[in-house]
C-alpha cells in the first residue's frame, strides 16, 4: 500500500495508522478539519520519509464526489482509502436536542456513506484497492448510553457490508474496523480507564494487519469479537438489566 488517502487524518488512530504505513515511496493525501493539527501530522509523516499532500475540509459540509475525484487525480492509483473521523456525542444532549442528534448522525454516519459511495465508484473503475472505515463496537447493539453514535456507526457498517457483497471477487477490498475502548482525545472525558482500554498505537498495529490481510469485519484488539458476540447474543430480558 503506497498511495493512501485518509479522511479525518488528524484523529489519533488515523495518525498512528499512518505512521505504521510509512515505507519508501509512500504517498499520503490527508484530509482533516483542524488546519494546524493537519499540518503537524503531515510534517511528521514527511519527516519519516513520505510524500504528503493535505487538504483542510469539513467532511460533513464537503462535496464528497468532488473531494474523492481530487484525491484520485492527485494520487493516480489509490491503494487505500481510510475513513477515520468521528465524534462521540453526549447521549443526553442528543436526547434533549434533535439537531444535535442529526448532526451526530451526519458526522458519524451519512457523511461517511457519501465518501464511501463516491470512493467505491473510483475503486471499481480502478479495478482494485482497499476501502476501510473505522466504525465501532457501538455499532453492534444499541445501548442507552450511546445509541445515537452506535446507530450512525451501524449505518456505515451495514453500508460497508453491502459494498463488500457488491465487490466480492472483483479485487476491491472493503474493511470494517471496529475498535473497542481506545484512549484518544475523543474519549478523554472518561476517567479510570481499566483493563479493556488500549492505546491508539496498539490498535493501529491491529488495524494495519487487517488492512494488509483482507476484507471483512475486524475487531481491534481482537478480543472484542468475543465480547461483542456475547453482547449481541444476550436476550433483551437480560440485556436491559445490565448497566451498559
Amino acid at each position: 500500500m503506497h498511495n493512501v488517502a485518509i479522511f479525518g487524518a488528524t484523529s489519533a488512530i488515523a495518525e498512528a495508522v499512518a505512521r505504521r504505513l510509512i515505507k519508501p515511496e509512500a504517498r499520503f493525501y490527508l484530509v482533516g478539519r483542524d488546519d494546524e493539527r493537519l499540518a503537524l501530522v503531515a510534517a511528521d509523516l514527511a519527516a519519516r520519509g513520505a510524500q504528503v499532500q493535505t487538504q483542510v475540509a469539513d467532511l460533513v459540509e464537503v462535496d464528497a464526489e468532488g473531494l474523492v475525484a481530487e484525491v484520485f487525480a492527485a494520487l493516480g492509483v489509490v491503494d487505500l482509502i481510510l475513513i477515520a473521523y468521528g465524534l462521540l456525542p453526549d447521549q443526553e444532549a442528543c436526547e434533549k436536542s434533535l439537531p444535535t442528534t442529526l448532526e451526530a448522525i451526519a458526522v458519524n454516519g451519512t457523511s461517511q456513506v457519501a465518501l464511501a459511495m463516491a470512493a467505491a465508484a473510483h475503486l471499481e473503475r480502478q479495478g482494485g484497492g482497499t476501502l476501510a472505515a473505522i466504525t465501532s463496537v457501538a455499532a453492534d447493539r444499541g445501548r442507552r448510553s450511546n445509541y445515537v453514535y452506535g446507530a450512525a456507526k451501524a449505518l456505515v457498517a451495514t453500508f460497508l457490508a453491502g459494498l463488500r457483497h457488491r465487490f466480492h471477487g472483483r479485487g476491491v477490498r472493503v474493511v470494517d474496523i471496529r475498535p473497542g475502548f481506545v484512549d484518544t482525545p475523543m474519549t478523554a472525558r472518561f476517567e479510570n480507564k481499566g483493563l479493556l482500554w488500549s492505546s491508539p498505537d496498539r490498535v493501529a498495529g491491529n488495524i494495519v494487519r487487517a488492512l494488509e490481510k483482507g476484507s471483512g469485519v475486524y475487531y481491534v484488539p481482537g478480543y472484542w469479537r468475543a465480547i461483542m458476540a456475547v453482547i449481541r447474543a444476550l436476550p433483551e430480558g437480560i440485556f436491559h438489566r445490565l448497566p451498559l
Binding site: 488528524t10 489519533a12 505512521r19 483542524d34 494546524e36 493539527r37 503537524l40 501530522v41 510534517a43 511528521d44 519527516a47 519519516r48 520519509g49 482525545p185 478523554a188 476517567e191 479510570n192
Partner: protein, 432 residues
C-alpha cells in the same frame, strides 16, 4: 484525575490538559493561573505534579529529519521509544538516552538526563542544537548555546519552570544497527568495581548493578556492564513479550529477605568473571521497560528513588559510607545502580558532575524519611547533590546548598516570567 510520578508517591488529584496543537497549548496555558508541563510522567517524585498539568502526549511528531546528517527536530512529547521506532531502522540512535524509553524529549531536556555514556558524551542537553520554548514574557522563542544562551542554560535541566518546551533539535548518532556488544564484569567488592570502571573509561557505555545488601568484604559487589554499538545479524531482534504487573503487589513482597535473595541471585547469575554477549539495544538500555508497570511491585504506597552524585575525589569513601548506612539500617534497594559520570556542563540546575552517581529504590515505610535525612547529610558532607528528576522530599536548605547556582536560575526564570505561571509541588518545596 489522580496522577503521580513513577514512584507513585505522592499522588494528587489534578486537572490534566492535553492540547493537540502548539496553538491550543499556548491558549490553554494562557487560560490557567498556575501549572506545570508534564511529559511521559517518568520523573519519580513530584517534579511534574501540580493541581493543573499540561501534558504533551498529543504533541509527539517529528517535525523534520535529515537522513544525511542525522539532525532531527521533534515536538516535545515525542518519546525515546518513538525515536527508536522511527529512526533506528535508518541507522540513527539518540545521542544520549535515559534508562526508560517512555521518557519524552521535553522531559529529557527539562531534567537534562544522562545515560550510560555520560562519561564520554555528557548529558542529553549537550547535544541540543536548539530549543523552542513557550515563555510567559516573550511568547514562543528559540534558544540555543548561542541564541538567548541564558534561557537555554536555565531551561536545560530547569524542570519545566522557565516555560513549556515545545520542540527540540538535536543530532543523532550513526550506529551500525540495533545491537549492542555487551561485556559484563563481575566484581567482588566496591573497590574492585571502581577499579574496573576506571580501567574501562574508554568503553562507550558503562553502568554497574550493585548488591547494596552485601556487607563486610563483599560490600559494593556488583556487575559492571560495558556496551558498544556493534553490527549484528541482519534481521532485527524480535520484539519480546512484555509481561505486565497486573495490580499492586503487597508491600512485604519486596521486604528485606526477598530483596537480599534477589540481589544475591542477580550477582551469582553471572558465573564467570567476564562474559560477552550480543544484545538488542532496547534490552541493554531499557531493561525495566521489559516489565510494564514495574512500579506496582512496591505496592499501593509507592516508593522513593534516591539518586545522588558525589564528586570524584570524595566519591569512593562517600559511596562506601552510604552503603554502610543502608546495610546497618537494613534498608535495601532491590536494584542499586552505580555509574561513573564525566564532567558536568554549564546548565544552571543540571545534575551530572564528574564523579560517581548511585541510585537506590526504597519502599515507603514510616521510618524512611528520617533515614533518608541521614543519607542527605552524608551526600552534603561529601560535596554531592541529588537528582531532581527522582526527588519527592528534598528540603529547600539541602537544595540551595548543593545547587549553588539556584539564584542565577531564579533570576532568569523571573526575567522570562516563569515564576508567575509555572510551579510544581517540587518547586514550591524547594523554594523556587
Amino acid at each position: 484525575m489522580e496522577i503521580s510520578g513513577w514512584g507513585r508517591h505522592p499522588r494528587i488529584d489534578a486537572r490534566v490538559l492535553r492540547p493537540r496543537t502548539f496553538g491550543q497549548l499556548a491558549a490553554t496555558v494562557a487560560g490557567e493561573v498556575s501549572l506545570i508541563p508534564r511529559g511521559g510522567g517518568r520523573s519519580y517524585g513530584d517534579s511534574a505534579l501540580a493541581p493543573t498539568v499540561v501534558e504533551t502526549r498529543h504533541l509527539d511528531q517529528l517535525l523534520a529529519f535529515d537522513p544525511a546528517t542525522g539532525v532531527v527536530r521533534c515536538a516535545a512529547g515525542t518519546t525515546f521509544a518513538q525515536l527508536l521506532d522511527a529512526l533506528l531502522p535508518h541507522g540513527w540512535f539518540p545521542p544520549v538516552t535515559p534508562g526508560t524509553a517512555a521518557v519524552t524529549v521535553g522531559g529529557a531536556v527539562a531534567a537534562d538526563v544522562h545515560g550510560k555514556n555520560h562519561h564520554r558524551d555528557g548529558s542529553f542537553c549537550d547535544h541540543l542544537l536548539s530549543l523552542e520554548v513557550l515563555t510567559e514574557s516573550d511568547g514562543v522563542v528559540r534558544c540555543s548555546p548561542t541564541e538567548r544562551p541564558e534561557l537555554f542554560r536555565a531551561t536545560c535541566g530547569g524542570m519545566g519552570l522557565t516555560g513549556v518546551i515545545l520542540a527540540a533539535t538535536f543530532r543523532l548518532r550513526a550506529v551500525p544497527g540495533p545491537w549492542i556488544e555487551v561485556e559484563s564484569h563481575r566484581a567482588p567488592c566496591l573497590e574492585a568495581l571502581l577499579e574496573r570502571f576506571a580501567a574501562h573509561a574508554q568503553a562507550p557505555y558503562s553502568v554497574a548493578w550493585i548488591d547494596c545488601l552485601a556487607r563486610g568484604r563483599r560490600r559494593g559487589r556488583g556487575i559492571l556492564e560495558l556496551g558498544r554499538h556493534a553490527p549484528g545479524p541482519a534481521a532485527a531482534p524480535r520484539e519480546p513479550w512484555r509481561p505486565a504487573v497486573p495490580a499492586d503487589l503487597p508491600g512485604w513482597l519486596l521486604a528485606r529477605p526477598a530483596m537480599a535473595a534477589f540481589n544475591a541471585l542477580y550477582y551469582h547469575r553471572q558465573r564467570r568473571a567476564v562474559t560477552r554477549a550480543l544484545r538488542p539495544c532496547r534490552a541493554f538500555f531499557y531493561p525495566l521497560d521489559g516489565i510494564r508497570h514495574w512500579n506496582r511491585l512496591y505496592g499501593r504506597q509507592g516508593f522513593l528513588q534516591y539518586q545522588f552524585v558525589l564528586p570524584a575525589e570524595a566519591a569512593p569513601a562517600g559511596v562506601a559510607a552510604v552503603l554502610d548506612r543502608c546495610a546497618a539500617a537494613g534498608k535495601g534497594s532491590t536494584l542499586a545502580v552505580l555509574k561513573a559520570l564525566g564532567p558536568g556542563n554549564d546548565n544552571l540546575l543540571s545534575f551530572p558532575r564528574e564523579g560517581l552517581t548511585l541510585a537506590l529504590d526504597f519502599r515507603l515505610e514510616r521510618d524512611l524519611p528520617a533515614f533518608l535525612q541521614e543519607l542527605d547529610r552524608l551526600v552534603v558532607d561529601h560535596g554531592g547533590r541529588h537528582y531532581l528528576a527522582k526527588d519527592a522530599r528534598l528540603s529547600a536548605e539541602v537544595f540551595r546548598t548543593t545547587y549553588p547556582r539556584w539564584e542565577e536560575f531564579a533570576a532568569i526564570r523571573e526575567r522570562y516570567g516563569g515564576h508567575r505561571r509555572y510551579h510544581s509541588l517540587q518547586s514550591h518545596r524547594l523554594g523556587l
